[in-house]
Structure formats: structure tokens, C-alpha cells
């Protein structure tokens, strides 16, 4: 029954009212002529309402005339009537088709590039390289040759161990795996020198193989030889070897910073205002309320891409601009305060650079007056083992 109703709904049906004295005869003729009628209801003595399919209406009208009944349509139902209703609304239909078409067309382009990596900061400039290789926002999807792009990017960069591009909807997912940077390995058999890789003063030198080139107390530069890769014997003459040994040196780490005596500090007051703008690729439409009422403020922009489903990105994005009100405070620092502030900041920076805190031998702090500011120098003396292998080239 439900299937029948759906079937008639698709074909369209009408509810008609029959008025006359020969209603029973009308029904009988309908059944003998195999016209499907349903939901018959006797309303008054001379009235009957029933449903018929629209393709039978002409036949039914003929029968009604034969039985001297008056026929009138009460209701039109079904899909063909619905379609007819929307025929008059041309703009509506036109826009509907336009929207469907634009969604269909825009589905063939890449509107978002997502980079998935363990640590995205490690791949500096990867977005540029990818776009240069041919994967850009707004690119036609069938034109993208993922294999070629991967090859191009990998040729350009040494730090990628594996790369994959997946096109999902309008979203291109680029997956990257970092390659470990490996030092150049020099064979044990090959002749080599040991050279310095830092600037410092030698404190200890112990040549296991080869000839020491420096003494403790010597100042060394980057690149200067520490242990020569040869041994001179009385009888054997000059013999080349694979130099080996341990060199300990005092290395200096210095950092400087200018601290002005007048310091302006910015603080958030807590009040903020938001404004939105629409963005199509590079074309931006500002929604009202653009000028900020705050005098001093910090602006944070956040771009959000619109998407239909999880991977169907649209070429439209909403830019949310948040203005945070701030107040400025001027602080006057005494030379002592400026010094402690500078030392604190520099020590923090240096501590991050030097991994082994226990090997710090000495700390040196120097300050110089520079008009309205104070320049602070912090120097760390660190004991380190230095030296790298360098092949002897004949």
C-alpha cells in the first residue's frame, strides 16, 4: 500500500468531488474500466470524494458525464504539480541550478593545503616549495600530478625522508617525515686530521694517534688543525695515519643586549572587540565596524576556512580580527635595575644554548653606558671537548 501511494505521488493524483444521484453506478463503471480509485468517502447524500491518478482524469470525466454527475477537483497532489508550481519561480530555480553548478565546479579544485608533520616548524619554507612544484590553492585537481610534485620537492630539499600527497575532496593533505641529518662518516682506514670547530683556548690535549699541533694554552680558531694525521719517525720517515685523540678547550659564549633606561610596558586591559571580514582567495570584503575605538591595541588575525563536510573546503574564508586594548606604562630604570634585567634575560638565552650546565667554569658580566641605555655583555666560559675529523687531501 505504501509503495502504491509513493508511486501515485510520483505520477501525481487529484482528489475530486462527484455530485449526482448515480454515484454507485459511477463507481461500478470505474471498476469495470480498471481505473484505480481509492479513499472513497461519502460526505452527503449526493456527494462523494475520491482520489484518482491524473492520467485517468479524462476517462473519469467522461464517465461522470455519462452518469450525469457533476465533477470538480478539490486538491492536486504529487510531484508533477510541485514541479509545475516551481516553474513560475524562475529566479529561484535559476539560483538553485547556479548553486549546484558552482558547488560541482568548485569541487574540482584544491582549496586548502594541509601539511601534516611531526614538527611543522622543522620544515621551513615547505609551503613555498610545494607551491613552486605545482600544488597551489585554486589548482585544478586533474592537473595535479602528485608523483611529480613529490619528486620535485624531494630533489629540492634534503631534509625530507618521505613525502605523500593525498587529495581528499577539496583538501590536499601533504604528509612529511623528517630525515635525520647525518654527519659525514670518515672511514677508519682513511687518513685524517682533527680540526677545531670552535674558538677557544686549549686546556688539555691527548693525541692517541698522530702528532699534536697545539699545546695547552694556545688560542685556536675555527678550522685550525689540532692533531696532524701523520707521524714522523726517525727511521720510518713520514707516515700518514688516521688521527685520534681528545682535546678539551675553554670556549666562550657571549651575548649582549641594550637595555634602555626608559622602558614602556604594555598590558592588556581585558576589553576586546571583534570584527569579521570575508575573503575569497585574495579579495577581501570587510564587514562593518572597521576602525577601532581603542587608542592602543594589539591585533590578532585568525583565518577560518569554510567547509561543507570534513574535507570539502570552499574557496571562502572568514577572517576574524580581534583588537585587544592595551595600556602603556613608562618605567624609569636605575642602572642597577637595568643591569639585573639584562643579565637575567641573557642568562636565560645562554642556558638554552648550552646543554651541559655543569661544565660552565666562569661567568663574566660587563656593562657599558650608552647614553640613554645600558649595554650588557654576559660571557660564559665552558669546558668542552672539541674537534672533528677532516680528510687529508693529497
Amino acid at each position: 500500500m505504501l509503495i502504491k501511494i509513493i508511486f501515485y505521488y510520483l505520477l501525481g493524483y487529484v482528489r475530486i468531488v462527484i455530485e449526482g444521484y448515480y454515484i454507485e453506478r459511477f463507481i461500478n463503471i470505474c471498476t469495470t474500466q480498471k481505473i484505480a480509485i481509492w479513499h472513497l468517502k461519502r460526505e452527503k447524500n449526493v456527494r462523494l470524494s475520491l482520489n484518482i491518478g491524473i492520467h485517468d482524469f479524462k476517462e473519469v470525466a467522461k464517465i461522470a458525464r455519462k452518469t450525469k454527475c457533476h465533477i470538480s477537483i478539490q486538491q492536486k497532489k504529487g510531484f508533477p504539480f510541485l514541479l509545475h508550481q516551481y516553474k513560475k519561480r524562475k529566479i529561484f530555480i535559476g539560483l538553485l541550478i547556479l548553486i549546484c553548478l558552482s558547488i560541482g565546479i568548485s569541487a574540482n579544485f584544491v582549496w586548502n593545503i594541509e601539511i601534516v608533520a611531526e614538527n611543522e616548524q622543522m620544515f621551513e619554507g615547505i609551503t613555498n616549495d610545494i607551491s613552486e612544484a605545482g600544488l597551489t590553492i585554486g589548482e585544478w585537481k586533474p592537473k595535479i600530478n602528485t608523483k611529480e610534485i613529490i619528486n620535485q620537492v624531494r630533489l629540492k630539499r634534503q631534509d625530507i625522508a618521505w613525502m605523500g600527497i593525498e587529495l581528499k575532496g577539496t583538501n590536499a593533505i601533504v604528509k612529511l617525515v623528517k630525515a635525520e641529518a647525518k654527519p659525514e662518516i670518515i672511514n677508519e682506514q682513511e687518513y685524517c686530521n682533527i680540526v677545531s670547530d670552535k674558538v677557544g683556548v686549549v686546556t688539555k690535549i691527548n693525541a692517541q694517534n698522530g702528532t699534536a699541533a697545539v699545546k695547552p694554552g694556545d688560542t685556536i680558531n675555527v678550522g685550525s688543525t689540532l692533531i696532524h694525521g701523520w707521524i714522523e719517525g726517525k727511521y720510518t720517515g713520514l707516515r700518514y695515519v688516521h688521527a685520534k685523540g681528545e682535546i678539551e678547550a675553554k670556549v666562550w659564549y657571549t651575548k649582549s643586549k641594550k637595555i634602555p633606561y626608559q622602558l614602556t610596558e604594555r598590558k592588556d586591559t581585558g576589553s576586546e572587540e571583534k570584527s569579521y571580514s570575508l575573503k575569497f582567495n585574495n579579495f577581501k570584503i570587510n564587514l562593518p565596524k572597521k576602525l577601532s575605538k581603542f587608542q592602543i591595541y594589539d591585533t590578532i588575525e585568525e583565518e577560518r576556512k569554510l567547509k561543507l563536510f570534513s574535507n570539502f573546503y570552499l574557496p571562502i574564508s572568514i577572517v576574524e580580527t580581534t583588537n585587544k586594548e592595551q595600556t602603556e606604562e613608562t618605567k624609569n630604570l636605575s642602572p642597577e635595575e637595568a643591569k639585573t634585567l639584562g643579565v637575567e634575560e641573557l642568562e636565560q638565552e645562554l642556558n638554552q644554548e648550552i646543554p651541559d650546565q655543569e661544565k660552565i667554569v666562569n661567568k663574566n658580566i660587563n656593562t657599558y653606558e650608552r647614553g640613554d641605555s645600558l649595554e650588557v655583555f654576559v660571557t660564559y666560559e665552558v669546558l668542552e671537548t672539541i674537534g672533528t675529523n677532516e680528510k687529508i687531501v693529497f
Binding site: E24, N28, T31, R42
Partner: protein
Amino acid sequence: MKKKLRKIDQLLEMPKEVYSNEPKITLIGFHEMIIENFKGIIEYEEYLIRINTYIGIININGYELKLENMTNDDLRVTGKLESFDLEPNSEEE
């Protein structure tokens, strides 16, 4: 001849409503009645329906009677059914 055909059909265990013109009346609850093998409608009012079959007339009494579904050989009556009676044709006996 007719009687012989009937016996063959009975042997084959065919449903009766298929080989004969006898109506099959199904009553579902007190609100729905399905009549198969009907000939036509004699009278249709909100409170009374008279249905002609090949062996007689079926009278259905009730309130708010509706002819829900009509095809060439079956008919569904819904509404508050109260009673129904049968009027067999005299020449059939």
C-alpha cells in the same frame, strides 16, 4: 461438466477464490473488511454499503464507512463496522 472441473480443482487443492466466483470475506478487527471476487456496488452511503457478488448481496452496516481501496477484484471497507448480513440469490440453490 462443471462439477467434474470442480472435483479436479479440489484434488489439486487450488484456493477456492481463484477457480470459483465465490467471494472471500476477510474481517480484520472491527474496523476493516476485505472482500474479494465482487461484482459491483449497489448502494454506498456513510452508514450502509451493499455489495453485489456472483452468489448474492453483502450488506455492511456501520458508521463513517469508507471505501479505502478499489481494484478490479478486491475491495477494502474501513470504518466503524457494526453488522453485516448476506442475501443469497434464490436461483443459485
